[in-house]
């Protein structure tokens, strides 16, 4: 059988592009002091969020952000056919515990920090395939729960290297549906797992950059689009280090994306003032920048065509201790205000 909706090896064309119905975000206090503060739905004053552990706080953020998204869509839980969610904690407990409360049929995903686009890809396919009317896609991360799982206890007096990134405390959710007035998800490009041999778990930007380059290149080649077709090509959490690498590597691939490129991790913090070194990271990074900044700007019409590439480092604390290198992945979704135009 022909796979008529697939272009090339990795890119899927959505024949009835699902529409974003509502997008919500919750961020921690530090993100709320950053340059994108005005775009976030809710800014927490206490990153325990009234709970007694960081893990519970993260799960509560995810639960609340999904509830808010569903409320903003004008629907109720029973109208949402599926929930696609994932996070960074072992066995994706933030998402599963949220799903326990929400009682929406749930598909748990693990794509590390690529989860926002991974969930949008899977949700869009469910709708385009005719299996769902509306789904919710969500993800979260929390600085303190990630730090204790992957790095050091909070009160340990360590120095972070200048290329280290700061895990975003935040959660984002998008309700997408078959019918709506946009923005629409028009294409999805599924990434391959790449590993260029970086072993330092502080050096995520460099570890993930090749995966992003591979996915962007595949997307542009398979759709036949030029970089300047997009108003914004934005990666999830490569930070300032990864940003420099990706611009250079894309040149080598024959694409100049300099004019339209940015990175959520570079945008979310003012690394000078906020002392976040190379920028933000974590599932929440792409999630809050998409559901906060990007979609708001699209609804205002300031930007119309966006390619979002969320990047994930597929390591675990165990593999780091065992000295393994860091495999990485990147999934892309094309989000556009109008459908059926352009290439």
């Amino acid at each position: 059988m022909m796979t008529e909706k697939r272009l090339g090896r990795q890119t899927l064309k959505l024949s009835t592009p699902p529409s974003m119905i509502s997008n919500t975000s919750i961020v921690g206090p530090k993100e709320g002091e950053g340059p994108l503060a005005q775009y976030f739905g809710q800014i927490l004053t206490d990153d325990y969020f009234g709970e007694d552990s960081w893990e519970k706080a993260e799960s509560k953020m995810l639960t609340e952000v999904v509830k808010n998204a569903i409320k903003a869509s004008g629907m109720s839980n029973t109208n949402i056919d599926f929930m696609f969610a994932g996070d960074l904690l072992n066995q994706i407990v933030s998402s599963s515990f949220a799903a326990r409360e929400l009682q929406i049929p749930y598909i748990g995903l693990y794509g590390a920090c690529s989860t926002m686009t991974e969930s949008l890809c899977m949700g869009s396919l469910m709708i385009d395939g005719g299996y769902a009317e509306a789904v919710v896609c969500a993800t979260s991360s929390h600085f303190s729960s990630a730090e204790r799982q992957y790095r050091f206890p909070l009160e340990q007096g360590v120095q972070r290297p200048p290329f280290a990134q700061w895990t975003v405390t935040g959660a984002g959710a998008a309700v997408i549906a078959r019918a709506g007035s946009g923005p629409y998800i028009t294409y999805a490009t599924i990434g391959k797992v790449l590993d260029f041999g970086i072993k330092d778990a502080n050096n995520m930007g460099a570890a993930m950059a090749p995966a992003a380059v591979d996915t962007i290149t595949a997307h542009l080649n398979e759709t036949g689009r030029k970089p300047d077709y997009y108003d914004l090509i934005i990666t999830g959490d490569l930070g300032n280090v990864g940003k420099a690498i990706i611009l250079d590597m894309m040149q080598k691939e024959g694409f100049d994306i300099t004019k339209v490129y940015n990175d959520c991790g570079s945008m979310i913090f003012d690394s000078e003032k906020q002392d976040t070194h190379a920028g933000g990271s974590g599932c929440g990074c792409a999630a809050v920048v998409l559901n906060g900044y990007i979609v708001s700007e699209m609804r205002k019409g300031n930007i119309n065509k966006v390619l979002l590439i969320a990047t994930g480092a597929l390591l675990s604390p165990t593999t780091t201790w065992q000295g393994e290198s860091i495999p990485s992945i990147a999934h892309a979704v094309a989000i556009e205000n109008t459908i059926g135009v352009g290439v």
């Binding site: 050091f152 007096g157 120095q159 460099a206 080598k252």
Partner: protein
Amino acid sequence: MKTKMSSKQYEQYIKNKMPKPAYLKNCVAAFIVGGLICDVAQLISNTAKSYGYNQEAVSSITAASMVFLGAFLTGLGIYDRIGKFAGAGSIVPITGFANSIVSPAMEFKREGFVFGVGAKMFILAGPVLVYGVSVSILIGTIYYILGK
């Protein structure tokens, strides 16, 4: 993607794109803070000596007091801020050893007092004791054999 690179080539390729640590500033900060922490210990040691304690008692009193200070400042949430500035300057002194015990103990309190606090306390300090004590036994043994 056309680009193919081996791990070595990629490491070389990203080298000049990576921000470098502020070597000199870090080193000076470590020197000053580390030196000051040692001066605090010197003060405690001199005070204990002036009360007429013998050398061994003085060193125990000094070690225990410094450990207390390290633990207390960690509990107050101050030691990690010193550490951010001083780096090795506050990791290497014995107060840093205390910090490495207290910080995981506090962090894993939520996982209970036996497997949380009790077990995780030594996640960083354990190796120090293991290697320190083992080496001292080896040295004692060698000394014994040579002394024969």
